[in-house]
Amino acid sequence: MPNDVMLVTGTRKGIGRFLAEYYAAGGHRVIGCSRQPPDWSHECYEHVIADVSNESDVKRLLARIQKNYGRLDVILNNAGIASMNHFLLTPAQTAEKIIGTNFTGTFLICREGARLMMKHRRGRIVNFSTIAVPMSLEGEALYASSKSAVETFTKIIARELAPYGITCNAVGPAPIETDLIKSVPPDKIQRIVERLAIKRLGTFRDVANVVDFFIREESDYITGQVLYLGGA
């Protein structure tokens, strides 16, 4: 709803930037974060430098939202990193980084954000998965596994947060032209697209459409769901 206070993680570029600009233009008060400063701005947008995998950063981010706005209505846990590689050639440090940002980051933002939402007995959380989970894509073992964890986490906290009027769902985008897939060979992307029911790349607008659905007022009976794009 317009004037809602929304937190979007990973807003420096890609889907996060699109969603932040889209909802700021729609009248939301949007707070975004990333590890590096963005090169864009909007009158309804406030940026905070924060690493979602760092507990202190997340607590500082949510304390700032509490202080400046007094409430939080929507969380979009978009921040994520990927490293496409055969698992036999994946360093442990890379695995830790992927799990840290994609899963621990989602957990920390949900935990601290839900505490703000609880007070008002209302909230919408949308986590980000990927079609790599149901499609079990080779080369994405760590990335897809981290997102599998996000899905399970989403389903369980949906139950734990329901008594507080907070819904929690996840969207699983198909490949979109972003930095996340820039290192993936075009022929591999094409093979993934060929396995989708709808054989095209996803768009930012496709993702926003699902988020719109999850966060609308009338979706207060929809929680613990994962919606994949493209018919994965």
């Binding site: 509490q66 505490r115 609880m118 007070k119």
Partner: protein, 109 residues
């Protein structure tokens, strides 16, 4: 800040949590004026179910942060491994939160 203020804050949060519980969930809901440091939070004599206890702990943390600007994490490894749970009564919880507050303030100096 004094320990007494923490106990009062917990009782205020407890009143709020109890007022939000359905009467059917909490048939023995006492007069809020009857709440004291000896009010049990765990066990058969507690008026709280597990969800209400979670709500009380989060509410205590949030209220402490809002009113006093002090951020503590009540449920940590230490709290869970203590021989006697700090969540037994309002008083034992106040003792534990007071310990955390003192540590936080000392660390900030």
């Amino acid at each position: 800040m004094e320990r007494k203020q923490i106990a009062e804050l917990i009782i205020q949060c407890l009143e709020e949590v109890l007022s939000e519980m359905d009467e059917s969930d909490n048939p023995g809901n006492p007069d809020p004026a009857g709440l004291s440091e000896s009010t049990p939070l765990l066990g058969r004599k507690s008026m709280l179910d597990s969800l209400a206890l979670v709500t009380l702990i989060v509410s205590t943390e949030q209220t402490l942060k809002e009113r006093q600007g002090i951020s503590v994490t009540i449920v940590d490894e230490r709290a869970l491994s203590m021989e006697k749970s700090p969540f037994r009564t309002v008083g034992t919880l106040a003792d534990y939160v007071w310990t955390l507050v003192k540590e936080t303030l000392a660390h900030a100096e």
